[in-house]
């Protein structure tokens, strides 16, 4: 820090007292990043972009929204009809939620495929799962705000889940509602929490980034960076790649916002909430469907709730469930097959979540749910004992060398 790297005297003066510029230079400019990252590593920055977009559009929407059961629906329509470009802001926010989840789900599956949750990135992964959980809570409460039929009945179904808790369940539900049904006080508190939780997410995202920058990004071959020959500075290499990824992402996003804004929504949410009329099918937003399927697969209410939350809970302990020292699926032939089975299983669960809970759908939901937990709780811990991994490369910039047993993979990690 003896000689400043900044030429601008104002920047130099500030940086000497408050090293924000040094910090940014270090973390965003020189930050060494593996040079072999593929496009699946774009989704982290895209998620960050989606979060900021949601916060900015959300703040503007809140300036025109009225959180009251008699006015909420109409105030949203006023935004759509009378506020200048209100339709644009609202459609960006509405579709932004879906795109945020698309991006985050791809980001998570990328982590699963390339073993990004393994040591030393366990906390990085756990913070990510925490972000997912906060996103789900935020999205759920946000969906209630327009006060359409699905808002109201979705809120009723989901909050009622807590009544499954023995002894105190009913009291907890009353406490959550602030009354004896989903009503004005529920809407008010959901608005309040929907406003504040995104900033909590920002806080956890910052911790997520701090944890990321401690050891840097994982990479497609999943071995540690051995030196500067394996990395490139973040800027310009990954700033430009992220910009390209962002342009592609925005193209899809804009196509949805401008041409198919209601494709991912439900028509019933354009009918104002009516506690006296129950919709034929109460379906949550698509990003909750896999969890909804798990909830309904279990015949017992409390059991269903436990399994649904369990589906997220297993992700928290994933770093300790997967015993294999090899990160990337590229070197784990059996794991790779099961990864795709899990991926299809999640899609199947999503499909089943949208179907009525009857007949063959229930049976399939049970099989798919059983597989989900089998994958995490049994397959992950046992697989390293039977799987023969492929030989790992010596380094990111050097070719493959030598043996291929699990033992040699363990040894490889011991050596460094």
């Amino acid at each position: 820090m003896s000689k400043s790297k900044f030429k601008n005297p104002v920047v130099k003066w500030i940086d000497h007292r408050l090293p924000v510029f040094s910090f940014m230079d270090h973390e965003l400019n020189h930050y060494p990043t593996p040079k072999n990252l593929n496009y699946f590593w774009n989704f982290g920055s895209l998620a960050g972009f989606a979060l900021v977009t949601m916060i900015i559009t959300g703040i503007v929407l809140s300036m025109n929204y009225t959180a009251h059961v008699d006015y909420a629906f109409d105030s949203v329509e006023r935004i759509m009809r009378d506020v200048n470009h209100g339709w644009l802001i609202r459609y960006i926010h509405m579709n932004g939620a879906s795109f945020f989840f698309i991006v985050v789900y791809i980001h998570i599956f990328r982590g699963l495929y390339y073993g990004s949750y393994k040591a030393p990135r366990e906390l990085l992964w756990i913070l990510g799962v925490l972000i997912l959980l906060l996103m789900m809570a935020t999205a759920f409460m946000g969906y209630v705000l327009p006060w359409g039929q699905m808002s109201f009945w979705g809120a009723t179904v989901i909050t009622n889940l807590f009544s499954a808790i023995p002894l105190v369940g009913e009291s907890i539900v009353t406490w959550l509602w602030g009354g004896f049904s989903v009503d004005n006080s529920t809407l008010n508190r959901f608005f309040s929490l929907h406003f504040v939780l995104p900033f909590v997410i920002v806080g956890v995202v910052i911790l997520h980034l701090v944890a990321l920058h401690r050891f840097g990004s994982n990479n497609p071959i999943g071995i540690d960076v051995r030196g500067t020959q394996d990395t490139v500075p973040f800027s310009p290499y990954y700033t430009i790649k992220d910009l390209f990824g962002l342009s592609v992402f925005l193209s899809f996003f804009a196509a949805a916002v401008f041409f198919f804004p209601n494709f991912m929504g439900h028509p019933d949410n354009y009918i104002e909430a009516n506690p006296m009329v129950t919709p034929a099918h109460i379906v949550p937003e698509w990003y909750f469907l896999p969890f909804y399927a798990i909830l309904r697969a279990v015949p017992d209410k409390l059991g269903g709730v436990l399994f649904m939350f369990g589906a997220i809970a297993v992700l928290f302990i994933l770093p300790w469930l997967d015993r294999s020292p090899v990160r990337s699926s590229q070197f784990r032939p059996i794991f790779k097959i099961f990864f795709w089975i899990l991926f299809l299983d999640c899609i199947l669960l999503g499909y089943l979540g949208a179907m009525p809970a009857e007949g063959i759908y229930v049976i399939l939901s049970r099989i798919a749910t059983a597989y989900y937990f089998f994958h995490f709780l049994i397959l992950f811990p046992l697989l390293p004992y039977i799987e023969k991994t492929k030989p790992l490369p010596i380094s990111i910039s050097e070719p493959v060398l030598g043996g291929g047993s699990p033992a040699s993979a363990f040894a490889m990690r011991e050596k460094k």
Binding site: F244, S251, V257, W340
Partner: protein
């Protein structure tokens, strides 16, 4: 080998994502559509470049006013909004003034005044209960958002309005209910609204039920999404900009990465 497998990964995931989209879209329509299929019409406003047909919308407003508005309100629409379907200020003023709204005068009495362009469409009933009472307990839904509030809204609406047929012999139709082949459960509280020459179009268009159903649907589609034309137009510009940005950033990326890739 490493390159090969990551390529395998990308190809597969693209295929899977594509099938995901297909699955999602098919189950959405299944969940909402109840498996009754409607004739799929070629609306001027469907598609990426679709716009509303002004003449059809204006005829549709006439159908709404002379037929639907007897029972159905459009509380989210203001008379001033009619400007965007091609009416001028004077026409709108006159159209609004045919209705009256309650207001409170300086003496605190409730009095009636003619509606103004800034007023919302006056609903036929003072409240929901009055609406139900006048219609044998069935609530005639507000039509402001009806096209967005039904799956495949435009086709559904057209089908419903033209779907009144004689009930099959085995189907019992109770008093105050009517048989409609496109309504979920087939028994609807709304009597057949559209008959030949139910309205007299000023532009000489023959007022068949099918024509009137198309026109009123065009009008209601606009009422549900008054921003649609602006949205699509802005969308085209935004897409062109993004395509350019994508191309530029792609080539910039290739150029910046060239020395690393050639190592």
């Amino acid at each position: 080998m490493i390159k090969g497998s990551s390529c395998f990964f990308s190809n597969n995931i693209l295929k899977l994502l594509f099938s995901l989209v297909i699955i999602c879209s098919s189950n959405l329509s299944l969940a909402a559509g109840e498996k009754i299929s409607y004739p799929q019409l070629n609306w001027t406003f469907s598609g990426i470049l679709g716009t509303f047909d002004r003449a059809s919308q204006q005829r549709g407003l006439q159908v709404y006013k002379e037929v639907c508005s007897g029972c159905h309100g459009m509380r989210l629409l203001a008379y001033r909004n009619l400007k965007s379907i091609g009416y001028n200020d004077d026409e709108i003023k006159a159209f609004a003034a045919e209705n009256s709204v309650n207001t409170i005068n300086d003496d605190g009495e409730v009095v009636e005044r003619p509606a103004r362009p800034s007023d919302k469409f006056v609903s036929p009933y003072p409240n929901d209960k009055a609406a139900r009472a006048a219609n044998g307990g069935a609530y005639p839904p507000d039509l402001s958002l009806i096209v967005k509030a039904r799956a495949d809204g435009a086709n559904y609406l057209h089908a419903l309005l033209t779907g009144y047929v004689d009930a099959p012999a085995e189907k019992k139709v109770p008093d105050g209910m009517y048989y409609n082949k496109y309504y979920s459960g087939n028994l609807i509280g709304m009597p057949q609204p559209l008959y030949d020459d139910g309205v007299e179009y000023a532009d000489g268009t023959k007022a068949t039920p099918d024509q009137m159903a198309k026109d009123v649907t065009a009008f209601l589609a606009w009422a549900s999404e008054p921003e649609m034309e602006d949205r699509k137009q802005l969308g085209i510009s935004v897409m062109l900009f993004l395509l350019l940005l994508t191309a530029l950033s792609y080539f910039a990326m290739k150029q910046i990465w060239a020395p690393i890739k050639n190592q």
